[in-house]
């Protein structure tokens, strides 16, 4: 299958994502400049981390209007797979492809560290290779990762199984101590109602090879290829 990694002015995790797709899980991959108006030929779009447009106004608010985002929206509306990591997640929220919003971290600090996550839903395109409630470790690096959704939306997301990853302690407790940024309900990652769009603040591309001492992020990408293979088998 083919991954397409979008490059915005200020993206800085684009090559990391490309590297994982191309060299680690050995799939086709291409970088897509944000001025492109099509994502044709791509099976999964990745919006990478970084500081698109300097995070001016609100993180992701300006990248949302890049020409490529119209194509990404069309692609997602048709059921295409989209992964937004960190700044990519912020862009997905700003563009309305995922519900909710990001605000400044609770402690007004840029937080850059490894965190523990609990897999809340392993029945998604992006997490099918994890065990239910498995505790994994993936690094975060952000200033605006404090996820906000009002009570009604939160309940709907819970009911739909849209909450995929939550911040937790090493033992798996989910509380304010194990919450690095103040996100409601310790939310670290969500999927769209239809399940084809994933947004997550942690960076799986930074822990996808043994040389980094942690490969917990790899199964995000492998889950996608697994899903893709299964779909092709079922179609034939």
């Amino acid at each position: 299958m083919k991954f397409g990694v979008v490059v915005f002015p200020g993206s800085n995790c684009d090559h990391d994502c490309y590297h994982v797709a191309k060299d680690i899980i050995k799939q086709d991959a291409e970088l897509i400049w944000h001025k492109h108006t099509s994502v044709d030929g791509v099976d999964c779009v990745i919006l990478p981390g970084g500081f698109s447009y300097g995070d001016y106004l609100r993180a992701g608010a300006i990248a949302r209007f890049s020409p490529v985002m119209k194509a990404v929206k069309r692609f997602a509306d048709e059921g295409g797979l989209v992964i937004g990591i960190c700044n990519g997640f912020q862009i997905l929220l700003e563009s309305g492809l995922l519900p909710g919003a990001m605000i400044w971290n609770r402690d007004l600090k840029f937080v850059c560290k490894n965190v523990y996550l609990r897999v809340e839903n392993n029945n998604t395109v992006f997490t099918n290779l994890y065990k239910k409630e498995e505790i994994i470790s993936i690094p975060i690096a952000h200033f605006q990762g404090n996820y906000y959704a009002d009570g009604g939306l939160l309940n709907r997301m819970k009911d739909n199984g849209q909450i995929v990853l939550k911040y937790c302690s090493r033992e798996g407790s989910i509380n304010s101590e194990s919450n690095p940024n103040g996100s409601v309900a310790n939310i670290a990652g969500i999927v769209s109602k239809r399940g084809n769009v994933l947004g997550m603040m942690p960076h799986p591309e930074r822990c996808s090879e043994a040389v980094f001492g942690n490969t917990d992020g790899l199964r995000i990408f492998q889950s996608v290829t697994e899903h893709f293979k299964k779909n092709i088998r079922e179609a034939s």
Binding site: A101, N146, Y148, G182
Partner: protein
């Protein structure tokens, strides 16, 4: 006609405002013990042209809904200052 508009953007009630909270703590620490809530917003000043105030209002509301404001977490209000003259460079 030339106008200036001041758009005031505030976090909705109920949305955590870490900046406001930190400023509140800091003000208290300086001895202003009576301060018990601080909320921080954004002020955007726009200089723009339009037919009349109604037209300017329309433009501003569209800009706010499209880009300047995230309606999930923010509210906005604005004030239009008429008779604004562009300064010659």
């Amino acid at each position: 006609m030339e106008y200036m508009a001041k758009v005031l953007i505030k976090l909705k009630n109920g949305v955590l405002d870490p900046q406001g909270k930190t400023i509140c703590d800091s003000i208290n620490a300086l001895g202003f013990a009576g301060v018990y809530d601080v909320r921080v917003g954004k002020l955007i000043e726009l200089k723009l042209q339009g037919k009349n105030e109604k037209d300017i209002s329309k433009q501003i509301e569209r800009m706010c809904n499209k880009l300047l404001v995230n309606p999930v977490i923010e509210n906005f209000e604005y004030e239009i200052v008429g008779g604004y003259k562009r300064k010659n460079k």
